[in-house]
């Protein structure tokens, strides 16, 4: 959720609560004020009528249409005893002239004359329709609410985008930032303390990431240098031993060959790790138009020969030309790793189907054991089942190359077939 929406959401919540409370308060105060005024006038009228009744003078004519109407009833002592002397109430009274009920404020006064006879005087005056009032208030509150909301929205958006400009600039800079690549300087001019601190922090962390990255690169370079030479020495000493092989037995030669296999594995492992770190560092600048169809054909030919002993049925389907501008040796490792993977990990005697389409390369092989973990299959050193001599880096290399060139590589398991698909950008 964007910051501006989040702020607006909070504001609208707060505003609706605030306005609702304000509306209730406003209504209560207003009704109170109106009742107060009406009660005063009812009291005055009741006073006049009461004085006349007690003085035995002529009573005023009860006005028609409910306005200023009054009733004077004689009541029993018992009734009078339980009633308060004076009470106000809101009532619906029937107006015969209008044949309708109207809201009215009613004052009932209970009193007795000199003879001790009890009377109840009912004075009433029509008052406002409270439902209407409530409706009107609600209506205008909603209007006010929407208007305020719109206004606040506009102000918030303008203010936010103006004051947050450094933040958005920082975000853009962070989005475009790649460790180890050439990055533009963080040039944000702001006087706001928080943003300055944020910028400083971002710059500091970027520098730290750069230096860590640099150190790591150097470490890998140094480690490889340190490992290559002893590996060369081991390998070459064994080779010298074999070259002077007159005194060695067949069994001893076999053992030496096994040590060589292990050394080969170490050399390959080291080489693959170097390759990965070089891809990650983008150290493969030179690119040319690579004919993927031809590359797949060549690779498949070699693989078919090498893995003939596995007795797999191989089919290559050419659905159209596929070319891509990339480093030829990296293109070679993608194709070789995928095809080799199918030959090495597929079921012996199974099927391998490679399809080259104009923007897609698919390598599928039949394989028992169900789908592999698609979330980890491209991780370094992830292997479904440990296979001797396999570095567990082949698919990681494929993934790294694909990321470098913006290709999409995906794994799926359909109808008992492991399927790797590489989508090339148009």
């Amino acid at each position: 959720m964007k910051l501006v929406y989040r702020i607006l959401l909070h504001l609208s919540w707060a505003l609706s609560l605030l306005l609702a409370a304000w509306a209730v308060l406003f209504y209560v105060t207003m009704i109170d004020e109106i009742n107060d005024e009406v009660d005063d006038s009812l009291e005055a009228r009741a006073e006049v009528i009461l004085t006349r009744v007690l003085a035995g003078r002529e009573l005023p004519v009860a006005a028609s249409e409910g306005n200023n109407a009054y009733f004077l009833n004689e009541v029993s002592d018992e009734y009078a005893a339980v009633q308060p002397r004076e009470r106000y109430s809101d009532e619906e009274i029937f107006i015969p002239e209008r044949d309708d009920e109207e809201p009215a404020r009613v004052l009932r006064k209970v009193f007795h004359d000199r003879d001790g006879k009890w009377y109840e005087l009912t004075v009433m005056t029509p008052t406002i329709e409270k439902d209407d009032l409530r409706e009107a208030i609600l209506y205008w509150i909603v209007c006010l609410y929407l208007f305020l909301l719109l206004l606040i929205l506009l102000i918030t958006v303008v203010v936010l985008y103006r004051t947050m400009r450094p933040l958005y600039a920082l975000l853009r800079w962070l989005d475009g930032y790649t460790v180890g690549a050439r990055n533009p300087p963080l040039a944000i001019d702001t006087s706001v303390t928080e943003f300055r601190r944020l910028n400083d922090a971002a710059r500091r962390y970027a520098e730290r990431a750069e230096s860590t990255f640099e150190r790591q690169k150097q470490f890998i370079g140094n480690a490889s240098h340190e490992m290559q030479t002893p590996l060369a020495v081991c390998r070459n000493r064994l080779e010298m031993l074999v070259d002077d092989a007159q005194t060695l037995t067949e069994e001893q030669l076999g053992e030496i060959a096994k040590v060589q296999r292990t050394l080969d594995y170490l050399v390959r492992l080291n080489r693959s790790l170097l390759l990965l770190s070089k891809i990650d560092n983008g150290q493969f600048p030179e690119a040319e138009e690579v004919d993927i169809n031809a590359l797949v054909r060549r690779t498949a030919e070699d693989m078919e020969e090498i893995y003939a002993y596995r007795g797999m049925r191989f089919t290559l389907t050419d659905e159209g030309p596929l070319t891509m501008r990339m480093n030829p040796s990296l293109a070679g490792s993608v194709v070789a790793n995928l095809v080799k993977n199918a030959f090495v990990h597929g079921d012996a005697g199974g099927e391998i189907a490679v399809t080259v389409a104009p923007r897609r390369l698919t390598v599928a092989n039949s394989g028992a054991g169900g789908p592999l973990d698609a979330g980890h299959i491209f991780d370094r050193f992830y292997q479904g089942a440990k296979k001797e001599g396999s570095t567990g880096l082949g698919l990681a290399v494929v993934d790294a190359v694909c990321r470098l060139y913006g290709l999409k590589v995906a794994y799926s398991y359909i109808n008992g077939r492991h399927c790797f698909t590489v989508e090339f950008p148009a």
Binding site: Q228, T229, C234, N236, D243, E251, A257, R271, K278, E305
Partner: protein, 225 residues
């Protein structure tokens, strides 16, 4: 043929010296930049094996030095870094080849032969072993004066052994050299045996006096009469 080995790792230097001496080269060695500079200044070499990372300076600066002296020595860079920049810079500075560590000794010897051949005779000469002659530029093979037709892989295998005579070659190294790096997970080498069988038969039928002999449990070796 005189070869200078510039390598700071004593053990590797010793191995290289021993291997090359056995192949009848005159070998000198230098362990650091200063020693190498002295040798280059004092003597002429046919081939120089040059490590890039040296105590006291970079091998690339030695290359510049050689260029200034208009040295006719062939230079093979031997580097542990396998760095593309080093490779490009080295080749631009006039190096003839680039061999990343760790290498096979047979490979080293083949590269030296190739560089020497190119420098001495403009690269149009053949590789010779016994009565077998192989022209790498035209991919032609002659046995006892008569041309022999070889399939692509058969030719590649013969070329591989002709550049490494008298070295016992591990069958994995052979497969890697001929089929490329794809073979790293093959645990069955029938494809090598099959090609090897055909090649040996063709050589035998043509009357070749060299033999690619199997070294049991290990690999093969080209044996000359």
């Amino acid at each position: 043929m005189k070869i200078l080995i510039v390598e700071d790792e004593p053990s590797l230097r010793e191995i290289m010296v021993r291997t090359l001496v056995r192949e009848q080269y005159v070998v000198e060695q230098a362990a650091d930049y200063a020693a190498a500079l002295d040798k280059i200044a004092a003597y002429d070499y046919d081939c120089i094996l040059l490590d890039i990372m040296l105590p006291g300076g970079s091998g690339l600066r030695l290359l510049e030095e050689l260029k200034q002296r208009r040295s006719r020595a062939g230079v093979i860079i031997i580097s542990a870094r396998d760095s593309l920049d080093d490779k490009i810079e080295g080749l631009e500075l006039g190096a003839d080849d680039y061999l990343p560590k760790p290498f096979h000794l047979a490979e080293l010897s083949a590269r030296i032969r190739s560089v020497l051949r190119r420098h001495q005779r403009d690269g149009h000469e053949s590789l010779d072993a016994g009565n077998v002659h192989l022209w790498p530029d035209s991919r032609r093979v002659e046995v006892a004066g008569r041309e022999v037709e070889l399939l692509r892989k058969e030719y590649d295998i013969l070329h591989y052994f002709m550049s490494r005579p008298n070295h016992t070659v591990d069958k994995t190294a052979l497969a890697e050299g001929v089929w490329g790096d794809h073979i790293d997970q093959a645990d069955n080498f029938d494809f090598v045996y099959a090609q090897m069988k055909n090649l040996r038969r063709k050589l035998h039928d043509a009357g070749a006096d060299i033999e690619i002999r199997a070294v049991y449990g290990f690999g093969y070796k080209l044996v000359q009469p």
